[in-house]
Subunit: 123 residues, 2 copies
């Protein structure tokens, strides 16, 4: 890819692969709900799994996807493994979206200016 | 799912399915580059495909994913089909991310307040 590089380079470590993994992780409602829960507080797997009617191995698979993209980290705390949110990968993805919107809005501004110029010239 | 509903309801038409499709669409670097290109201006498939070393049917498949999630619309313009960006589905996804960050930042503020209280009480 030579053109259209998203403007994510302002955050260290942002790569196309990281962005793809983050958006892939967000493409599932269970994983989004886990992120929303962990935004509120760290939690154990049992606590996180409670709102879902899902076998624990399937739920563990979702947690594994989140850990692999770096948005969730876990640590053994006595006999319980606790999960916490790492907001950096989310910020990278958000930055990408904000950058696209900025480009889009700039274009609308330019179109508006152009129309104003045309109007002024036709008077 | 009874808990942890993401706060996307403030935009009409936002649903879990729409969010999943949008994030799925964003989980591929070619599709992200197409969105970035269309943020700048509408374009034909030939123009959009130019930066990529990819067979046209594979590229068309990516455009089809983008059309299905509603972020891209196409229209026949004479003999050429032209593609344009529809920013609403991107905004819905961005809103979801902003809402999670707000919850996270509020939690940090509360923690900070708690620490300040503890400090004050220990004086």
């Amino acid at each position: 890819m030579t053109a259209n590089q998203p403007r994510t380079s302002r955050r260290a470590g942002a790569s196309e692969g990281q962005l793809s993994r983050m958006f892939q992780a967000l493409a599932d409602p269970t994983r989004r709900a886990v992120i929303a829960q962990l935004s509120r507080s760290p939690a154990s797997m049992t606590e996180l799994a409670r709102p879902f009617r899902m076998a624990l191995p399937s739920f563990a698979q979702h947690l594994s996807v989140l850990e692999k993209c770096g948005v969730v980290q876990s640590r053994k705390d006595g006999r319980v493994r606790r999960y916490r949110l790492v907001p950096q990968p989310l910020s990278v993805a958000e930055d990408w979206m904000v950058a696209q919107r900025a480009i889009w809005e700039q274009r609308l501004d330019q179109l508006e200016e152009y129309i104003e110029t045309m109007k002024a010239e036709s008077r």
